[in-house]
Symmetry: C2
Subunit: 297 residues, 2 copies
DNA sequence: TAGACTTACGGGGACCGTAACAATC
DNA sequence: GATTGTTACGGTCCCCGTAAGTCTA
């Protein structure tokens, strides 16, 4: 007993006529005869009473019909679900992002993606980069933002964004006169440090150690607006990705010399297959950046 | 997507290994590879992550697995129901019998049949023969007992029993001395008539009319024991199928001259297919009589 | 004679088995 | 080298289409 046999059987049962059933199935009538005959032989019972000009179900046929309808319905439902998955009308994306990118980069991208695939469930959460790597490892996230150059070797991913870290001071601050600044000079300033992601903090520590000086951190927070307010009020300087202060007249962004460039990648466990929804988001992300680059040129 | 593909898919999903799945399906491993590949191509999505030494389900695979289990379960259930129907572990027999046969013939047969097919639902009801024909016509009975020689032509059936109608008198009655009696002489006796089935009553009417005499019916009832009591007490004579009085020392059964033989058939609507349960009972009935005849010889 | 189902026969595709290959430990 | 999955090839069986046959109105 297979699905094709049931399909033919139901067609015949519904129209009570082999010829019409064949037409509705787009096959010839003898094919229907054969299929039904095979099915009857397999079940060792007759399913239809052959009367002149029409056929009708036997008692056994009626029992089979009930089951056949359920089975075919279930097939249809399963196939539909698969199509929905394929067409991104179902599924889930669980993404971990850094605080900065979560505030200044992803909202626009995700909004555009959501518009394309409105029925996907989307979970975006902000974590530090180390935490993102850990949660991906623990399968609590599907993917996340990591630094391209130090991607864990049990993970794989794709580079999607390059951005510059700049020193950030109030436009009234003496530093605002400079166009570039060395990192060594920068860390001697009173520093307001964003501690959400450990990366910039690590950069400071490393440089201090290399220069053999103590860092001059006067304030730590993971609230970007708070840092911006304090910097704006002239309490110190900080470093941000350039987009954070771009367009904000209160701040001057000063490139480091040599410049500090971050390459961001979206990454996932190497051993783990991305669901179609996640894969679609990655593709979308790469494509989004390519489009943006083309437009800017 | 067909049932075979799902069967293979579930097998692989359950053991997480193509080779073992192939073994459990009693096919070779490349066959499994091919089937899964076809399925993946058809659904346009990958269902398994191929890792070293084992495979595991993708997100989409998990969704399919849930559906596949339901579908295969439904198949199993349907096949089981068909087997049960075939093996007479389900189904219903709705049989109409005459009063006499219901009391003196069918109990033993039905008991034997019940023993063979204990899970069949059985409905046996006593009606007059005309009523049986009517109820079959109305589809309220599947089959019933009718006279072979006047089976309605919209019905068909099989002869299963031949029995003799005999005059029945108390052993103390003067008629008990006779070995035969003509029907003409019989109807001049004071008659106790069994009115459950109209057949014997009709026979009396017909003969009276032919002989141009009034019938001498002094009592009518459809209670066989009551008639037997009255006959036993010498209040009159009656006619019965021979088995009714066989072995009862109070009565003498006197063959008519010429003998009156009834051929009983079990019959059903010609246009209507007998369910396997009913068919089985018919076969059983014929076989039962054949066995009995062989034993007696 | 027309309409409906059955039977017989041939072709194409699906599935399975064999065998050789690739990859990982 | 052993185990696991993939690819290629050939054979068999199933299903479909064509054509002829049977039955009934």
């Amino acid at each position: 007993m297979n699905s094709r046999q049931l399909q033919v059987f139901v067609a015949v049962a519904e129209v009570g006529n082999f010829t019409k059933a064949a037409r509705s199935l787009n096959i010839v009538q003898p094919a229907v005869s054969n299929t039904i005959k095979k099915l009857e032989e397999e079940l060792q019972m007759s399913l239809f009473m052959r009367k002149d000009k029409s056929v009708s179900l036997t008692t056994e046929g009626k029992v089979l019909l009930k089951n056949a309808r359920i089975i075919l319905g279930q097939f249809k439902k399963a196939e539909l679900e698969m199509v929905e998955l394929r067409q991104m009308e179902r599924g889930e994306v669980r993404l971990g992002v850094t605080n900065t990118l979560g505030m200044y980069y992803f909202p626009k991208v995700i909004e555009a993606f959501k518009q394309r695939h409105p029925n996907l469930n989307f979970s975006v959460q902000v974590f530090g980069m180390r935490k993102i790597e850990q949660l991906i490892e623990e399968d609590q996230l599907d993917m996340g933002v990591v630094m391209l150059e130090n991607m864990p070797n049990n993970m794989t991913g794709r580079h999607f964004l390059t951005d510059e870290i700049v020193a950030c001071a109030s436009v009234l601050h003496p530093l605002a006169q400079h166009e570039t600044i060395t990192y060594k000079k920068f860390i001697r300033e009173p520093l307001l440090v964003f501690t959400g992601g450990a990366v910039q903090r690590e950069l400071i520590e490393k440089t201090c150690k290399a220069e053999n000086i103590d860092s001059n951190v006067i304030f730590e927070t993971n609230l970007i607006p708070l840092i911006k307010n304090l910097v704006s009020a002239g309490h110190g300087v900080t470093s941000f990705l350039r987009p954070v202060i771009e367009g904000d007249p209160r701040f001057k962004g000063i490139s480091f010399n040599p410049p500090i460039i971050f390459d961001f990648a979206i990454a996932w466990k190497k051993s783990c297959h991305l669901s179609m929804a996640n894969q679609a988001f990655v593709d979308f992300l790469i494509d989004y950046e390519k489009q943006k680059k083309n437009t800017n040129q």
